[in-house]
C-alpha cells in the first residue's frame, strides 16, 4: 500500500475511464450535523450529476466519512481517506475547526482539501503562508463582517449598534470585525452580548440591551438561533434594522422568525435566490427532487466545492500536485458566484451581496465593496 508520508509521490496521471475517489469528510453526527449533512447531500448530488454526463473522461466516487464535528476525528478521517481510500481530493468539512485539522495531513500527502464553508479568519494560514493544499470556496468572516459594518453605517445610516454573537469562532470573528469596521466608519457599539449554539431563550439578553439606544442590531450567528432572536426581538418591540451574515441564509430563518417579523432585515451572503441563475435553479430543483427538501447556502457551497474539484480533475486528468496547481489557477463559475483564488490566502475573491428581507422574502441584492 501507499507510503506513510507520501512526500516523494506527488500525484499520478489518470487514464480515461478510471474511477476517481473523492473524499467527503463531513459532520454527519453531533451538534453541527445539520450543516454537514446538507453539504454531504449536495456533494453527492454533484458527483452523481458528473457521472450522469456523457462527455466526461472519468467516473467519480464519493467516499463518505463522519468527523462527528470533532477536530481530532477529522484529522483521523482525513488520513483514512487519503491512506486507505486513496482519494484524489477531499471536500469538507463544513466547520472551520474540523477543516483546519486536516490541512497539515493534506499538505503532507499532496491531497487538496476544499472546505465549502470554513469561514474562520486566517483558516488556511500556516503562519505567514497558506497551507499549500488547503482551499475554501466561501469568503472569510472578517470580510463579511466588514461589509455589513460598511453597509450599516453608510447605506442604512446607523450610528449605534448592538451586537449579539454566538460564542463560536464564526460568531466571534464576525462580531470583532463588524465592531472594528463600524467604529472606523463613525459608529459606536453600545451593547454586546453572546450566546451558545443551541440556546433558545434570548429574552433576558434582549431585555437588557433594549434600553441601550442602539439603532441597528448585528446578529453574528446561524439561522437556527438568529431566527429565534429576530422573533423574540420583534415581539419585544425592537423594530430597528437587524443585520447579519451568511448564517442567516436558509429557508428555516423564515419559519423560525415568522414572516411578519422579517422586515428591515439585511444580511451578507454569497448565495441568493434573488435573480437566480439557471444553474442555480437547476441545482435547487435537482436537490429538492433528490432529498425532498430545499437546499440552503451550505449545500450550494458544497456543490460548488465538489464541482470545482471535478472540473479540475477533468481538465488535468491528474491528481496530486498537478491537480492542486489547477485548483490554484482555476477560474470557477459556480452557483454561488464566479471566483478565482487569492494566492496569498487561498480564499476566493468573491463579491459580497447584501440581501434584504421583506415579509420573509428576499427582495433585492446589492453588491458591497470592501477595501
Amino acid at each position: 500500500s501507499s507510503s506513510s508520508t507520501g512526500k516523494e509521490e506527488t500525484g499520478k496521471k489518470l487514464n480515461e475511464g478510471d474511477t476517481v475517489k473523492i473524499g467527503l469528510n463531513f459532520e454527519l453526527s453531533g451538534d453541527v450535523s445539520s450543516y454537514g449533512q446538507a453539504e454531504r447531500n449536495a456533494a453527492q448530488l454533484a458527483i452523481e450529476q458528473y457521472n450522469e454526463r456523457s462527455d466526461t473522461k472519468f467516473k467519480a466516487e464519493g467516499v463518505e466519512v463522519d468527523d462527528k464535528g470533532d477536530a481530532a476525528e477529522s484529522t483521523t478521517q482525513a488520513i483514512k481517506l487519503i491512506e486507505e481510500d486513496g482519494v484524489a481530493a477531499i471536500v469538507g468539512p463544513a466547520t472551520s475547526g474540523a477543516s483546519i485539522a486536516t490541512y497539515e495531513v493534506a499538505t503532507q500527502n499532496n491531497t487538496p482539501v476544499i472546505s465549502p464553508s470554513a469561514t474562520q479568519v486566517n483558516a488556511m494560514m500556516n503562519g505567514e503562508t497558506p497551507y499549500e493544499y488547503a482551499w475554501r470556496v466561501c469568503f472569510e468572516d472578517s470580510y463579511q463582517g466588514a461589509a455589513m459594518a460598511i453597509y450599516s453605517a453608510d447605506t442604512l445610516k446607523c450610528k449605534k449598534a448592538a451586537i449579539i454573537n454566538e460564542t463560536s469562532d464564526y460568531g466571534q470573528g464576525l462580531a470583532n470585525q463588524f465592531e472594528t469596521t463600524f467604529k472606523e466608519h463613525g459608529g459606536e457599539v453600545v451593547a454586546h452580548e453572546q450566546y451558545n449554539a443551541g440556546d433558545t431563550d434570548f429574552a433576558s439578553m434582549l431585555t437588557k440591551i433594549k434600553d441601550s439606544g442602539f439603532d441597528v442590531l448585528y446578529i453574528a450567528g446561524y439561522y437556527s438561533e438568529a431566527g429565534l432572536i429576530i422573533k423574540q426581538a420583534r415581539e419585544d418591540g425592537i423594530d430597528c434594522p437587524i443585520v447579519g451574515a451568511d448564517g442567516f441564509e436558509s429557508e428555516k430563518l423564515v419559519q423560525l422568525a415568522g414572516k411578519e417579523n422579517l422586515n428591515e432585515v439585511w444580511y451578507t451572503t454569497a448565495y441568493t435566490t434573488v435573480n437566480a441563475s439557471d444553474e442555480l435553479n437547476a441545482f435547487i430543483d435537482a436537490y429538492t427532487k433528490k432529498y425532498d427538501q430545499a437546499p440552503n447556502m451550505f449545500s450550494a457551497l458544497a456543490y460548488d466545492a465538489t464541482n470545482l474539484v471535478l472540473d479540475q480533475l477533468e481538465a488535468t486528468g491528474a491528481t496530486g500536485e498537478e491537480l492542486n496547481e489547477a485548483i490554484k489557477k482555476a477560474n470557477f463559475e459556480g452557483i454561488t458566484g464566479s471566483f478565482t483564488f487569492d494566492e496569498k490566502t487561498h480564499t476566493p475573491v468573491k463579491s459580497v451581496m447584501v440581501v434584504n428581507q421583506v415579509d420573509g422574502v428576499q427582495t433585492e441584492a446589492t453588491e458591497v465593496k470592501v477595501d
Binding site: 452580548e193 431563550d201 433576558s204 437556527s224 429565534l228 415581539e235 419585544d236 428555516k252 419559519q255
Partner: protein
C-alpha cells in the same frame, strides 16, 4: 426597576421549563436512584410527536398534548423495560451507561428519520402578550408557568397521598420488603417511568410551541440543565426540582442581565458548586447522615 421586574418574568419562564423537565428526572431518580440520561431525549420525542400530529394530522393543542404525554409515557416504560430493568441490581453507574446508550439511540434514530435540521411548529397557542404595568407577559409564558405548578402539585399529591405513591416510596427504600407487602415492584417502577416520561412529553410540546424550534439533539442541554436543577434542589425531591429549575433559570437570566453573558454558564456552575459545598445534598435533599 422595570428592567429588573421584566428580568424576573424572563427568569421565571425559563426556569419553569427547566423545572418541568427536572420534575420527571427527579421523580425517576427518587424511586430507583438512576440518572435517567435519556430523559432529555424523551422530552425531545415529545416535541417531535407534537410536531408530527399537529403538522401532518392537524391536531390542536390539547389533543396534541395528550398524545405527547401518552407516547412519551409509553416510551419511558419501554426504555425502562429494555435498558434499565435488567440492570436493576447492577451498580448504578452501569445503568448510567445504558442510559447514555439509549440516549444516543433515540437522538440518532430521530435524526435518521426526521433529519437533523431544525423544524418549526405551527402556532398552536395564541402568543398574545399583555402589559402589566412596566412588564410584559405572554400568554404562553403564563401557560407554561401554570402547567408546571399544577403538574408539580399533582406529582406531589400522587407521591405523598395515593396508594401508588406510597408503593413508589416503599420500593425506593427497600425493594424486597416492598415485595413482601404484596407490591408489584416492576409495575410500580413502570408507573414511575410512565408519569415521569409523560411529564417530559408535556415539556416537549410546550417548549416546541414557545420557542418554535425543535431538533433531534434539543434534549441534550435542557436534559443536563434539568439534571443540574434536580441536584441543586436535592435530587429526589419534587419541590426541590421545582425550586432548582426556577433557580437555574433565574440565575442564568440575572447573570446575563447584571453580569456577563460570556460567563453565564460558568457563573451558574460556580453558584451551584458553592451551594453544594454549603449544603451537600442540595437545597431540599435530606441531609441524612448514614446511621452507623
Amino acid at each position: 426597576m422595570s428592567q429588573f421586574l421584566q428580568q424576573i418574568v424572563n427568569g421565571l419562564s425559563l426556569g419553569s421549563i427547566y423545572a418541568l423537565i427536572a420534575l420527571g428526572y427527579t421523580m425517576v431518580y427518587g424511586i430507583i436512584k438512576l440518572i435517567n440520561f435519556a430523559h432529555g431525549d424523551v422530552y425531545m420525542i415529545g416535541a417531535y410527536t407534537a410536531f408530527i400530529v399537529t403538522t401532518y394530522f392537524g391536531f390542536s393543542f390539547f389533543p396534541a398534548l395528550i398524545t405527547c404525554m401518552v407516547v412519551c409515557g409509553l416510551l419511558g416504560v419501554l426504555i425502562e423495560r429494555i435498558a434499565y430493568r435488567p440492570l436493576r441490581h447492577s451498580p448504578r453507574i452501569t445503568a448510567l451507561i445504558t442510559a447514555i446508550g439509549v440516549s444516543y439511540v433515540i437522538e440518532y434514530t430521530t435524526a435518521y428519520f426526521m433529519g437533523s435540521e431544525k423544524r418549526t411548529y405551527p402556532q398552536l397557542l395564541s402568543n398574545a402578550s399583555f402589559q402589566l404595568g412596566p412588564i410584559k407577559i405572554s400568554t404562553q409564558q403564563i401557560y407554561i408557568f401554570l402547567i408546571t405548578i399544577v403538574l408539580m402539585l399533582l406529582l406531589q399529591f400522587i407521591i405523598q397521598k395515593t396508594k401508588m405513591g406510597r408503593a413508589m416510596r416503599a420500593v425506593s427504600t427497600d425493594e424486597n420488603a416492598a415485595k413482601l407487602m404484596g407490591i408489584n415492584v416492576d409495575n410500580t417502577i413502570s408507573f414511575t417511568f410512565l408519569i415521569g416520561s409523560a411529564l417530559a412529553g408535556a415539556a416537549g410540546i410546550l417548549v416546541g410551541i414557545y420557542y418554535n424550534s425543535i431538533n433531534p439533539l434539543m434534549g441534550m442541554v435542557p436534559g443536563l440543565k434539568a439534571f443540574v436543577a434536580a441536584v441543586f434542589g436535592g435530587i429526589g425531591s419534587i419541590p426541590g426540582a421545582m425550586i432548582g429549575g426556577l433557580f437555574i433559570g433565574m440565575a442564568e437570566t440575572m447573570v446575563i442581565a447584571y453580569g456577563s453573558s460570556l460567563y453565564r454558564d460558568a457563573i451558574v456552575y460556580a453558584i451551584l458548586i458553592i451551594v453544594l459545598i454549603v449544603k451537600p445534598t442540595g437545597l431540599l435533599g435530606k441531609n441524612e447522615r448514614e446511621k452507623v
